[in-house]
Symmetry: C2
């Protein structure tokens, strides 16, 4: 008979039955309780754990429902499967086969790790591309929320392109950065990522090729590969993507699209110069190569506004423009937008209706109110102040801690510093070692498989004390690894 | 030179420059102004339209950006393309080719029509599967929104499975209908439709087959066909899907999944009996055929609660359970959930993170508060009262207007009445004729290609006066067509 030498901790926030469930699960999943193992009777378990029998019953019921335990009348409870991921034979349905089956690829393992670790409370996130909870405009958001009931008569499905009042506000907003787009050529998406997903399934053929900066945020997503689309990286210099290579690779691969982040590029922080923007647009017009302009960091300039968007100079409908509230205000609203030729917008909106019937109307009303009330501009000014302090703090820390062992440039906006480490450092080892110390990193090879000595640092997320602690510890680890 | 004998109407809500833009667009798109046509100078246009020159400039700029006009210095403005959908040659990039290209199929034409007509203000929607704005709980929602600022510290990205406090509430909620699911085996989606989309790309192989009721809501979506998945309909009787055919078709097609709406089936309104539920679960367990249980209408019982969900009787992890707030509270929140074996939930959550980084946190907080505050139950009681009145009104109208020419049964919950019309009625003609009279219908063949004499009526959406007007007019049209 199995041994149990553990009791749930009633002082914890986690309900006792969940603690019991997790305990049993771990025993099973780690192979400590193998398939066929008999579990003590529920009455005995209750005594062993020092809890009511009903608590044990609840835990066991869930484990039975999850297929880990089975209860046969007269025979007590037994371990039925050791774990879903090892599940190999016969009934219940072998979900594991299904999990491996779908066309869509899983996230990259490092991204899965990052997604798994990010929610943990004490982790220091030095690479997270998200505004810190500390700069969340709690006061202003409360004001917005209090105004919403007067606006919202009902919360039904919206038309495919999204809430009309929000598209009207966005039309004005885009006009303020030089882009002429009427509400009918704008669609709302649940963040720019969703726009990319819709483009990947709605506008591109399998085996087609898109060009993108090297490195690029897009490389860290499995979205395009999952739709059978190839990504070809184009070298950058300090002024952005290099035009001769765009032309060359466009011809070589018969590329279908170019994806670019011209302002405060993710992960390098580069701002494409005005001259380069003009050259790129001209090259793409000549080559009939449509552009996806991902401009989600535009508002987050810290020294001076970036040059106008490509879309503002686009007189031929070459550019599909992506914007978002996620970086500048709050990712949790899940609101972004696409502006471009109306038939393209219509097509993408039709697909969106098939995938999620539109974005949250509540979020759409909230963003419309942010824009209409002028509070968005108030917030942006505060946000830039907060972000500037963070950037300058991280730059000062880097100067103190990494002088001589790493290289970087000062970004003039956005979130990121692209840190080049000594070639001797193994990113995987660094990632693991940092995690041991409670620091979560975004390794450079997520964004370019050859960037094996880079880290994407972000000054947007960690608190200032955490940032200091994190950068100092990171420098220690790197120095140790270089030795 | 072209003639202009039209002026914008300044009393309208639509901005004047948009009216001008739409006017020019229509001229071009209808072929009245062909490619190469010279547009009068902006000064002259301003005079013709009786507006400021800046208004004309704005309209023309947008049309240039959309690729319809082109302005060459010294040569004035010309029509550049007649319309994107006829666009055939050379630069600008031929977006039209892209639109046809993507792997994802467009919505069915009738669904596109429906999506297009639904937002129009004066249309009477007799088939819309959405709660009427009239039964939207405006008062209670205002209370919820006023409570949110105290809960929301920040609105960042959530973990892949969704906001933890909401999953805790849902865990309790599911327990109340007999389903044991811990927060870690629940994930939040942007409505049940998104869950289906994630399943189609995450768990199913191309060329696999899923079984579903015949007719079925799922048939009206192009989601599964877009992923290369076949759908095979199984006949129903008054107790639900028929088991012998499930077994037969599972074998014949080596089917991968069964999709069912056991409670208040869409579109027939059928409630699967307890006996049938047990048989179905047993058959699927024996055949190792996983079930997707779409239970989004469960709360909307009008006479008595339906039998327990399949998931509540599932001791082997055979069932993946879908729920949603869209039908019972407000679709615009875009919040649904999936409960099932944890590895499956993990896989789906990983894909969700790749497609939209999670659902609106604002919506998630709102739904958590609805559940935690108990206001959801208050609302459901009101909702049932409102819906019962609507159902009884529609049944009375049908008895008055359709006796002798159509057949239907009384639904005991949900939104739908499955109306069987005389065989002589052409659904396409009926759809068009009704639209002429301002009535929007959901033809039966959307849900089963052989249901060429059925309509899916919904008593959930139209106001009572509209419902009366609509049903009377519909009966007139049908009687006329039968003659």
């Amino acid at each position: 008979m199995i041994q149990i030498d553990w009791k749930p901790d009633k002082s914890l926030a986690t309900p006792v039955y969940i603690q019991i469930k997790d305990f049993i699960k771990e025993k099973i999943e780690t192979g400590q309780w193998t398939v066929g193992t008999r579990i003590p009777a529920q009455r005995a378990l209750a005594q062993l754990f020092g809890v009511n029998r009903s608590t044990v019953v609840l835990a066991c019921e869930e484990l039975i429902a999850e297929g880990l335990l089975e209860g046969k009348s007269g025979q007590g409870t037994r371990v039925k499967n050791n774990t879903w991921s090892l599940l190999s034979s016969a009934p219940p349905p072998d979900w594991n086969q299904y999990i491996k089956r779908g066309a869509h690829q899983p996230n990259l393992p490092t991204i899965q790790d990052i997604n798994r670790w990010e929610p943990l409370p004490h982790i220091i996130r030095l690479g997270t591309g998200e505004p810190s909870p500390e700069i969340f405009p709690q006061e202003l958001m409360a004001q917005i929320l209090h105004r919403l009931p007067a606006k919202i008569q009902s919360l039904g499905y919206e038309e495919g392109k999204g809430l009309y009042p929000l598209r009207e506000e966005l039309s004005k907003h885009l006009q303020s950065i030089g882009i002429a787009a009427s509400p009918s050529s704008i669609m709302i998406v649940s963040g720019a990522l969703q726009a990319l997903q819709l483009i990947s399934i709605g506008l591109l053929r399998r085996n087609s090729t898109i060009l993108l900066e090297k490195p690029s945020y897009l490389k860290s997503l499995n979205l395009f590969p999952s739709s059978g689309i190839n990504m070809v990286g184009i070298p950058m210099d300090e002024y952005g993507i290099q035009i001769p290579f765009v032309k060359q690779q466009k011809k070589k691969h018969n590329a279908s699209l170019l994806y670019t982040i011209p302002s405060f590029h993710n992960p390098t922080g580069t701002v494409m110069s005005l001259e380069r923007r003009k050259q790129l647009l001209q090259a793409c017009e000549e080559g009939q190569l449509p552009i996806i302009e991902d401009d989600v960091y535009r508002e987050l300039w810290l020294d001076e506004p970036p040059p106008p968007p490509l879309k503002a100079m686009d007189k031929h409908g070459t550019v599909l423009y992506l914007g978002s509230i996620s970086k500048a205000l709050a990712p949790g609203l899940r609101i972004g937008w696409v502006a471009g030729p109306e038939p393209v917008i219509d097509r993408l909106a039709d697909i969106k209706m098939q995938t999620d019937y539109g974005s949250s109307s509540l979020s759409q009303w909230a963003v419309a109110e942010w824009l209409a009330s002028g509070m968005y501009d108030v917030h942006l000014a505060n946000m830039r102040d907060g972000l500037r302090l963070r950037r300058d703090t991280m730059l000062a820390l880097l100067a103190d801690e990494f002088a001589g062992i790493a290289e970087w440039t000062k970004p003039s906006g956005g979130f990121y510093i692209w840190l080049q480490l000594p070639a001797a450092v193994s990113l995987r080892e660094l990632f693991e070692a940092a995690l041991q110390e409670g620091i979560l990193l975004n390794p450079g090879n997520l964004y370019d498989s050859l960037a094996v000595s880079h880290l994407r640092l972000s000054y947007s997320y960690a608190s200032l004390p955490d940032m200091e602690k994190g950068i100092k510890k990171l420098a220690e680890i790197v120095r140790h690894m270089v030795k």
